[in-house]
Amino acid sequence: MSMNLTEIIKISEGKVLTPELNTDINIHGGCCADLMSDVLAYSRPRAVLLTGLTNPQVVRTAQMADFRAIVFIRGKKPQQETIDIAIQENIPLISSPMGMFELCGKLHDAGLKSYEHNGSD
């Protein structure tokens, strides 16, 4: 079952960095990586991306791979260019104080499925 982004924001104790974008959206699963090539190769569409990287390429990667939102871990704040592209491409950005392991665990416990795959399809 999918999860609403507002619930993910609540669980991750996240701060929304793109208040102009709608967060009442449906997220089908989660994928975490700091390697953008891994994200491109091993993710399924309509997921949330959890990452420690904050450069504009993260948003481009998310856009190409049809992600619906991005959560930056450990309270990281991206540069303005990243936020600008995210607004333009309608991909909400969230900053969570949690570390990657903790955040993944909490979201998985709450029922968010893994949308990473091993490359077999």
């Binding site: 953008m36 504009p56 390429q57 190409m64």
Partner: protein, 335 residues
């Protein structure tokens, strides 16, 4: 096994009938629509209600005349209970049809909000085995009522709407090529990519993906092309001396992506095709690229990839993607 009962899918195909990509796509689509649909869009808003102080016989009359199975009880515009057929039957058994509704109504109410997605209502219906749910608005007032039938109807209408929109989109796309007559029509988009321009990295691929969607490609095809274009674009930014050109060619049945640059060229092509082989700098790696996966990823996304390179002269990368015939030619029969 019961001889009359028809075989279920599970029995026919075994316990682990593989879920195909298409199945997954369809399931997701319905799930998706269910999340987008709000309770207020499918509920019935002209609700027949009753005050709490009238006799149960009045409620019975409402149920009978309107052929409904229960009536919300409202006092001062606030929902205070619901009186169902079962409640009325209880009153009847006690021979108390003259007693006020409030004596027999159910007050332990489960409600949904107008702004909830219908998935919320589905969850409650599944867990509590209720027949109908009162719907409450922002001011906690009764706004309507929702049944499983309303939900089914809402989803069916949404699926139909969705299907029509997609038909129109594909119709337009297929006709772009139908209306222009030539022996071979090709739409070509060219993008100049600057070496080292990381800030704009991905802009061209972003335009490519959008163009394909605009032309009627489905999301899976656009995603594959977008990813291949993006990896190729990043390669031009990361590895070339003077940048290069990223080109998209769209024909009715195939898509060709290509990059050309004038150096420095690849020393050993076999090596760059090995997963994990990389010549990228730390700066590139810090951005999440340069893990030696670029060309490997591209190969996974496209149907055919060719690479030609001469040290000191430059590299040509060619990627071909076949367009499934149902996408750009879905209206051939009707035109």
């Amino acid at each position: 096994m019961d001889p009359i009962r028809p075989q279920t899918e599970q029995e026919k195909f075994g316990r682990h009938r593989p879920l195909t990509d298409r199945d997954a796509h369809e399931i997701n689509r319905i799930e998706e629509l269910s999340y987008d649909l709000k309770v207020r869009e499918v509920m019935i808003s002209n609700v027949i209600t009753t005050p709490p102080n009238v006799p149960v016989s009045k409620a019975l009359e409402l149920v009978r005349v309107n052929r409904i199975s229960g009536v919300p009880v409202v006092h001062d515009e606030t929902l205070v209970g619901i009186i169902s057929l079962e409640d009325i039957v209880r009153a009847l058994q006690n021979n108390e049809l003259g007693e006020p509704v409030q004596k027999y109504m159910t007050t332990d109410l489960v409600t949904v909000n107008t702004f909830d997605s219908i998935v919320e209502a589905i969850k409650i219906f599944t867990e509590k085995r209720l027949g109908r749910l009162p719907v409450i608005d922002e001011h906690k007032k009764l706004a309507g009522i929702i049944t499983k039938g309303d939900i089914t109807r809402g989803i069916l209408l949404a699926v139909q709407r969705d299907y029509k929109e997609e038909e129109v989109r594909r119709y337009r796309a297929s006709h772009l090529f139908d209306d222009i007559v030539s022996d071979r029509t090709t739409l070509v988009l060219r993008y100049n990519i600057k070496a080292g321009d990381f800030t704009h990295g991905g802009n061209a691929s972003s335009h490519i993906k959008r163009a394909l969607l605009r032309l009627g490609a489905d999301s899976q095809l656009a995603r594959r092309c977008g990813i291949a274009a993006y990896e190729a674009e990043m390669n031009l930014i990361i590895h070339t001396t003077n940048g290069g050109m990223l080109k998209l060619e769209v024909e009715p049945r195939k898509i060709t992506l290509s990059t050309t640059d004038d150096g420095p060229g690849i020393e050993d092509i076999q090596k760059v095709l090995q997963p994990g082989y990389s010549t990228a700098t730390d700066k590139v790696r810090e951005m999440g690229f340069g893990a030696g996966m670029g060309l490997v990823n591209i190969q996974k996304c496209v149907d055919k990839m060719e690479i030609e390179s001469t040290r000191g002269k430059g590299t040509k990368l060619l990627m071909r993607i076949a367009v499934p015939s149902e996408i750009l030619n879905s209206n051939k029969g009707s035109s």
